[in-house]
């Protein structure tokens, strides 16, 4: 039991950091109804890393921790470029939803990685790892890195919270606030960087689940931003503990387990909501 706790303490802290930032962004994403954006940015970041690892052959020893500098730079560059393009698309009235363009970006990034990895040896392992991540093998160095990056992004969003919240609350309007395009770009760019770092630890699927699931559950019960964030965080903590415990005990991969526990929570809260319709406020 002690060994379990010792083994799980680093993954626990890592997951808490991931939940901290992603629950917040998740509420934005749900309100903007651009559910896809996170998966698309994550997949683009992964494509960036893949491009880097194909270009710079020596970067091929990764598996545990080894994101090389080139891979990192490419990931960030790809997401920031995507952030710029999405902002550009958003600023015009187009007859197709932004979500469609985001979705197509995702498909290109995902299959683009497959094309590139087809030529690289051991491609299938990479694909699986990209999707699944490896929270259990996270190091303390990585955790400190996450804390610093998320801290900075969190600070940016805290200082300018009025701008970011107003932008999201009036997302259907083209120009809700002054310099909307700049703030929109900052939103996507900071989100993109958060996604790059999150995904390097948790994998695409886990991060997607952390974004969407707690935010959806809190949207069922709460209206204000603050209460949604705190409910999401509380729920995320409990679920992480349960999920890590289950995955240790049953010897199954941790990420899918946490996701499924979150799913069960959503089902339960849907039932609660159905039974107690008056509790909504």
């Amino acid at each position: 039991m002690n060994s379990a706790i010792e083994f799980m303490i680093a993954p626990f802290f890592a997951t808490m950091l991931l939940i901290g930032i992603n629950v917040y962004f998740g509420i934005h994403v749900i309100k903007r109804e651009i559910i896809f954006i996170d998966i698309a940015l994550a997949q683009l970041a992964a494509l960036g890393a893949t491009v880097a690892s194909v270009f710079f052959e020596h970067a091929h020893n990764h598996g545990h921790e080894g994101t090389t500098l080139e891979e990192y730079i490419f990931s960030v560059a790809f997401t920031i470029l995507a952030a710029y393009i999405f902002t550009l698309f958003k600023s015009r009235k187009l007859p197709i939803p932004l979500e469609a363009l985001i979705g197509i970006g995702y498909a290109i990034a995902a299959t683009g990685s497959v094309i590139l990895l087809d030529t690289a040896a051991g491609g299938e392992v990479h694909v699986k790892e990209m999707v699944e991540g490896a929270i259990l093998w996270v190091s303390w160095g990585k955790i400190i890195e996450l804390a610093i990056v998320f801290g900075l992004i969190g600070l940016l969003h805290f200082i300018y919270r009025r701008k970011f919240l107003a932008l999201t609350d009036d997302y259907s309007k083209t120009q809700p606030i002054k310099h909307a395009m700049l703030w929109d770009f900052l939103f996507y760019a900071s989100f993109g960087i958060a996604v790059v770092h999150s995904v390097s630890v948790g994998g695409i699927l886990t991060i997607f689940a952390f974004l969407i699931l707690p935010a959806s559950i809190s949207a069922l019960f709460m209206k204000s931003w603050q209460s949604r964030i705190f409910l999401g965080w509380g729920l995320g903590t409990i679920v992480t503990v349960c999920g890590l415990y289950l995955s240790w005990n049953l010897d199954v991969p941790s990420a899918p387990t946490i996701i499924l526990v979150l799913g069960v929570c959503l089902l339960l809260s849907l039932i609660v909501k159905k039974v107690l319709p008056s509790s909504a406020s």
Partner: protein, 276 residues
Amino acid sequence: MIQTLIFLSAPITACVLLAGMLSYFGNHILTRGIIFIDISLAQIAALGTMLGLLLGYTEGSSSVEIISLLFTIVVITLFALTKREKQTIPQEAIIGIIYALGLGLAMLLAEKIPGGSNYITKTISGNILWVTWKQVLSSLLIFIPISVIHMIFQKQFIAISESKRKLPFSISHVRKFEMLFYMTFSIVVVRAVMIGGIFFVFVLLIAPTAIATLFHSAWRLRFIWSWSIGLAGTIVGIYLSYQFNISNGPAIVCLLGGLVYLMTFVKMAPHRQSVK
């Protein structure tokens, strides 16, 4: 040359059918703004396939397809029932959740199937060149009654797709049509995914209709354009993948997807001038 043509005749016929069916549904999906539905449906169908494999049936057998289909229909029926007059969680988010849970489960199952992780990758890329005439003909047999249903109820389906805030009929009435719509849709998606893989289906649904919608708003025109674009895209994609020796699914996806981005920029350029 002739041998190549014979080899390619079945895949190309399959492309004609799939481009037609998928671009028709794509117009509905795009108008509704639930872009995710196909990927998450496809993931559920893939999960159903893995379930079938886990039960000991062989890959590609009809038992696996039936299990996969039943599984998908159950999930999609649940989804159709989440339609409310006022949506607390956007439908798109529910779809995303279904996707995440489906993929999560598929990963857990992959551990139980020999070579299971290999199977996840295969589902992602797919290969239309391996399609057989038998598959093409059975697809045709499945698609004809579905097309008939959609021709009979086209007014209702279009009315529901176009309603953004207010429902055109009573909620119970809407739900009945929704279930019919999503059931036929999932039958088509399950079929198509077995032939082409998740991303192939996704892009064939969204990309051609996105291009068509950029330039036209009438349903009939959009349908004709998206069918043509989808067909041209798949055939050129197959040709390119043949030439450069890359997987054809990803080649088609990148080609059609890239075209959407290109056309969006084309659309944006003169638009800016006409406004200012």
